[in-house]
Assembly symmetry: C2
Homo-oligomer: 330 residues x 2
Amino acid sequence: MKNKKICLHSYPDNIPTVDNFSCQEVAVTPPGAGQVLCKTRYLSIDPYMRSQISGRHITASLSPGDMMMGETVSEVIQSNSEKFKVGQLVRCMGGWQEYSIHEPEALSAPITHAYPSYALSILGMPGLTAYAGLMWLAKLQKGNVVVIPAAVGAVGATAGQLAKAAGCIVIGIAGSNEKCRYAVNELGYDFCINRKTDHIAEKLEQYCPNGIDVYFDLVGGKLLHIASERLAIGARVILCGLVAEYNNKDRMAGPAPALWIKSRATVSGLVVYDFEARRSEFIAECLPLFAQKKLKMQEDISIGIEHAPDAFCKLMRGDNFGKTLVKVST
Amino acid sequence: MKNKKICLHSYPDNIPTVDNFSCQEVAVTPPGAGQVLCKTRYLSIDPYMRSQISGRHITASLSPGDMMMGETVSEVIQSNSEKFKVGQLVRCMGGWQEYSIHEPEALSAPITHAYPSYALSILGMPGLTAYAGLMWLAKLQKGNVVVIPAAVGAVGATAGQLAKAAGCIVIGIAGSNEKCRYAVNELGYDFCINRKTDHIAEKLEQYCPNGIDVYFDLVGGKLLHIASERLAIGARVILCGLVAEYNNKDRMAGPAPALWIKSRATVSGLVVYDFEARRSEFIAECLPLFAQKKLKMQEDISIGIEHAPDAFCKLMRGDNFGKTLVKVST
């Protein structure tokens, strides 16, 4: 049995291209004592991976030759552990490959709901990120004016829907008219600003005349500056992602601290791994919303592990639509 | 009776000089119905005044011709209000002048403790700033590693002593060896870094090998960047002053948000006026510390209102030593 895997081939200069990756085929080795062999069903493709390539992510740095890392929903196909049975679906860090071997502690509890791919988006890490940021850090309150850049990405789309469900006024920022229409018509955003064609500052003035209560930052860069100039008194800013700079060699400076003094902002750095222990709390809150169709997720699915580089480059160009996934097997 | 007052004469280009101010003499008018006439005892000279001149402070913008504003300890010398009696000392926004007239609501309750000038420092606004930042926003805990730039200024000196009294490890940053010695020998700082001659980053590595838990920022600029690179996980950053940029025309950018994500920092903008309602709580906590001599304040006192510009320029050059005050009358 062969295992196809995708490695980093060379460092991208800026936005990655498929040439920066290589595909290898190796034999699948049998799992050792106590270990579990998994077959990848879905691979999650996320912006943070660019940051791992730059050596700037807290989880790992990747060098040419290294296999790309990533979270997967995988099927147990051989188990030397009493804890897992063949046929069970689990969440794990399977990486960009078709098969992976794990210690049982590295696997999630079996996925029991009927939407396994959603364990990588709205009911998974992006969902937990959105929930932890809005509810636990920003302490979202009914009536808050919430602004979400990357409005239809995996984290942003969840955050937008959670904020609407909580009775907030929600303004998105996205990269195309199509995405903006989707944000308003499908995700329930009150307004969505096209960051490429609209005058963002003017639109924010128009939509948030009394300022922004919560800015859920996934992007950094200029948008963070523009939003920081329009915060309401007592605003909360969640710093969670820096897509705008992932492809740059240098880190961008932050907004002038004076803006955050003026608004008495509380600015919180969010790393989702810190909230792992509270994942079940989040799932318990979100499953009913999901059942009531108040939470949904557009998925942007490529088929076959060899298309993971394509999918990642598309995400980095902002050309994805919804949560980027690779369907690796059925 | 004549009232000498100091007005802004021209906008400073950078660090102000005495030429930017003018002194005028006008007749003292009698107080109107219900009003109170006060004679200034002490005028507080504070860094935020530079920000008022630049039009960037939340309280007011000053233009040439305007009298300089400022908090004073003043004596009631004529009262048309039942609430105040001649001879009482009060805190008020008397401004840079010898006499001021107020509505009774604009005066503090009479000062009853024996240290009236301290109502402008350790038991006044700078003290409340330090207390609110450390205790209410940063939720200081015993054993925290606390770094305080402007270590011997009015806010910094109070913060340093409060943090020591709370059982923290406290590192100051100051502008001369004399100030550093004072910080360690008199205020009880564990260490103090000379920002002009020491390698600040190296010293912080040495004194905070496990990172900074609380950074009480009064300065902004480069020091904020350097400190943000060395935060412990869960650090709190209090944004409270921007002395480093008060004399610049442009606002400086903030640290890279990535640093705050990495450390899961909570960054809070502090405006002391928001905590006015809790002033008595702060006084109740600090008076005993003060009585036990765990809180003291070096005062840098000039005599006569005509020396207020001098005192302010000295403060802006960083040449003051302790809380800058003008003794206007006895």
